[in-house]
Symmetry: C2
């Protein structure tokens, strides 16, 4: 059943994004199954990690698709991306913390593709005059992903309400921490 795999992956993300070194016992318990069944679904720890990473990147790509980041003005596109990405923020947190994943050429290539898409969005926004040109598109892209991961961690730990997460992310990233002089 695909549902089994998915629910296990979901549980694995919840545990691994917080503690990447969690034992398989813990992951199995979080998924509500036994360690034996976990091994029946995934050949081993490495395969599980790989699968979680691949799932994360697929969801990331899907969020880029649904947000239609190549359409319309860049600011709206980014806001759509935030909305599409926030539900999977935990997955992004996992991707950000698991540097080991990028030893895998396949995973790495998948990541490069998505990262390039986000960079293109910022570049487009800079050409539109929407985004600041003093900051490189690469840095904007990286910082954006850092903040998405930060949202994932904060929500998981209860430091940020899920309801506030999209707003907090978009407003801080787009407008910064400073109070706008023209909005008193």
């Amino acid at each position: 059943m695909a549902t089994d795999r998915d629910s296990v992956l979901e549980a694995a993300v919840g545990v691994l994004s917080r503690r990447p070194t969690a034992h398989l016992d813990e992951i199995a318990r979080a998924a509500g199954i036994s360690r034996a069944t976990l091994h029946r679904i995934f050949p081993g720890r490495e395969a599980l990690i790989r699968e979680v990473g691949a799932t994360g990147l697929r969801r990331f790509a899907a969020a880029l698709d649904t947000a239609q980041i190549d359409t319309g003005d860049a600011q709206s596109a980014l806001r759509r991306l935030v909305d599409a990405l926030v539900p999977d923020a935990a997955l992004c947190a996992f991707l950000a913390g698991e540097n080991q994943l990028y030893d895998d050429p396949e995973i790495n290539e998948l990541w490069e593709i998505q990262d390039a898409r986000v960079r293109a969005l910022f570049l487009r926004g800079q050409q539109q005059g929407v985004f600041r040109i003093e900051l490189s598109a690469a840095w904007l892209s990286e910082a954006f992903f850092d903040l998405v991961a930060g949202v994932g961690w904060a929500v998981q730990d209860g430091r940020l309400a899920p309801r506030d997460s999209a707003y907090s992310l978009a407003e801080l990233f787009l407008g910064g921490a400073l109070r706008s002089p023209d909005q008193p």
Copy 2:
């Protein structure tokens, strides 16, 4: 010799901030010593991790001191903090990635103190009318730390020039990604 400990800690940060599960062999090699000597300096892996964490928090506290974050207007204080913190960004990246550290009550308490100081800075800035009040001080504090850690990773991986890091961090965090309408 204190120099030995410090240089080993420095090397450990460099390795552990990228791969928290790195073997002691690797850390020893990065420090230019043998695994035996590493064990002579630190009783074991746990002690080493703890020490790195404690060092990171001490440096973080020192940066808060040198920046005098309680003095003057909040924006200038934050800019001073960025300048003081950026040299230790890798250390912050390590702290951000090593959630396991916060199981230790002593480390956790030390972290809470520093985090409260940063939160107080943002609260003060909000009361001064400098920082936006739509975003909670806790979120501003957390997001700021996420970006500092992100700078640490990016610099270590060569994706961000150290020379640009303080500027990129301060500008993005304070002003956001949007181009200011009053600065054409």
